[in-house]
Symmetry: C2
Subunit: 344 residues, 2 copies
């Protein structure tokens, strides 16, 4: 295991200087700081000792960051409630408290101060987005060796600890399934690209169409924000293109529900005018008529594994960055069956 | 406002003794303690100063107690997720953290120690039950003047702070509605009586039948534990009495869903063989076919008001115990319409 003295040697500074850099207490020359951080990175050094020193006054709370969105019953959504249930299960077993911390999505984050204030022993981050401010704050958390884990967000250029799902593969499989059913003109209702899983779904969609020799028309690309309302609003735009659409791939079930409702009001029915497949396999999918096909994401397990990971970091220290991807499953239901008349 | 010296005078002890009782630091004779607590109760004295002294090291966290039930995705249930969304909304607005604390339902609780450990500035208690251990722990919290609030549980003999709903009225109205539809033989699937709202639902059910001149047969009383599985299991028992049953009143929607599913497997269908009304008006109620009638409980508002109440106690001190009851609304849907043939 890499020690403080190894970093000091490579950076050409004293061990005390290494500590000062990671403790962030005394002012240091930018150049010295850079040298130490570069050496630490090169050696894969994680200053557990520092995290441990804060942990002396252990709170036995794990912080869970969730976006604060006024007027949205966020915790009532299948997505957040399943992840939280999984986290809660693990923390409950180990007698840890789950500290929900609400953060307005567009405010500057400072995750490290949560540790300095001794509010938490570790942190799990939901709803993280690929923005410069967010990346900077996560990088600080990572470099200073605090126990943390992202859920359902992966950063292409940073080795942040994360538990994610195989969204590229899931989207590829969902779109390929529609193609196999003879549904070739496939509209895509995606979420914002600042979420890595929107980006990955788009890549899966594009590649599946390409593989099938289908040209992806930009007319058939729509964007919502993963809410039911955004699906409902999209119906009006999509209605203009229904003569060009055989099927819809929706990046989550909530948007699919809104879209189905909106299109129905405008005279377009699932199974008669179009097929649809959602994503997440939330509890409503099987309760709808026709039942909604979907891509099952193991959100509960992802929450459990994120909590396990953070607790393991507390118990055993942080050894190396890990990105975990859990598999997803296609759940085939009635919403991708077109009535025979229409398929003639 | 009642002061410490008033309590000292009435109890016939020194002011320091009063403080010692409420601080719970030094050992005291049981008799002295009793005298002081009785005097405090008689005068409606709440030792805010003590709560404030702990609050000096404010955590800016509000604790939310939830039952720890392994294998149950508790936070994914409509009931808990809506209350938590409401709490979270208020706390998020005021920049407080929500500390979820999981407590195994059958373990001895010690709510006061949460304050001593300075983990929380106030506490909101969900899933509280009327058991001797629970009552004792709540009484300590109450007498020592800590900011707290119960949600959806009222204790008949203790003036604990609570936000509840009008469950007696809701149940009375639900059962009366079935009677008005000509459905007179009404089975009742209730939850356990240690929850005050089960008790209140039973009282509303009984009184509505009595008012209508209908004798309530104990054959038609069933008990589950508010889970879907318990509703499913009840189907087997209820099936033996279906010839005596016109309608079912279920104490929540989750049990209703399980029951409907179970009865359907055994050959009994809603609208043909029986009518049914649930409780909570969860999101699934309107998605089912036929749509489930239900009693809408303002769970989100209850969560918001509980958080507001605890924050107000922190800001302004605790003046007097308050029990709030929010109104509920009957939501009539297809599940209480019998097909005409059956009603002949």
């Amino acid at each position: 295991m890499v020690k403080r003295k190894d970093v000091a040697k490579l950076a050409g500074v004293s061990e005390a200087t290494v500590s000062r850099v990671f403790n962030n207490v005394t002012p240091l020359r930018e150049e010295t700081k850079r040298k130490v951080l570069d050496a630490a990175k090169q050696l894969n050094y994680y200053p557990n000792a520092i995290a441990q020193s804060f942990a002396k006054g252990k709170s036995r709370n794990i912080g869970v960051i969730v976006p604060f969105l006024p007027k949205i019953h966020l915790l009532s959504t299948y997505y957040f409630s399943e992840i939280l249930s999984g986290i809660g299960m693990k923390l409950g077993e180990r007698d840890y408290g789950l500290l929900l911390l609400f953060q307005p999505p567009n405010e500057k984050k400072d995750y490290v101060q949560l540790f300095h204030k001794q509010k938490v022993d570790g942190v799990i981050i939901l709803g993280s987005q690929d923005t410069p401010g967010e990346t900077e704050s996560l990088n600080k958390l990572h470099e200073q060796g605090f126990p943390y884990c992202l859920v359902n967000q992966t950063f292409a250029n940073f080795p942040f600890h994360s538990i994610d799902a195989q969204h590229y593969e899931g989207s590829y499989a969902a779109v390929s399934l529609l193609v196999e059913k003879g549904l070739k003109r496939i509209a895509f209702l995606n979420g914002p690209m600042r979420f890595s899983n929107s980006y990955e779904r788009f890549a899966g969609y594009k590649d599946a169409l390409k593989e099938a020799g289908i040209t992806c028309s930009s007319n058939l690309l729509f964007e919502g924000n993963y809410s039911r309302t955004s699906g409902l609003k999209t119906a009006e735009q999509m209605a203009n293109y229904m003569s060009e659409i055989d099927a819809v791939f929706s990046a989550n079930d909530r948007m699919a529900v809104g879209l189905i409702h909106g299109l129905s009001e405008l005279g377009y029915q699932v199974g008669q005018n179009y097929a649809i497949i959602g994503y997440d396999d939330s509890d409503i999918a099987s309760l709808m008529k026709p039942q909604l096909s979907s891509v099952r994401v193991p959100l509960f397990d992802m929450g459990q594994q994120a909590a396990e990971k953070v607790l393991a970091m507390l118990d055993e220290g942080i050894h190396s960055p890990t990105q975990v991807r859990l598999p997803v499953t296609i759940i085939e239901r009635d919403s991708i069956q077109m009535s025979e008349k229409e398929m003639d």
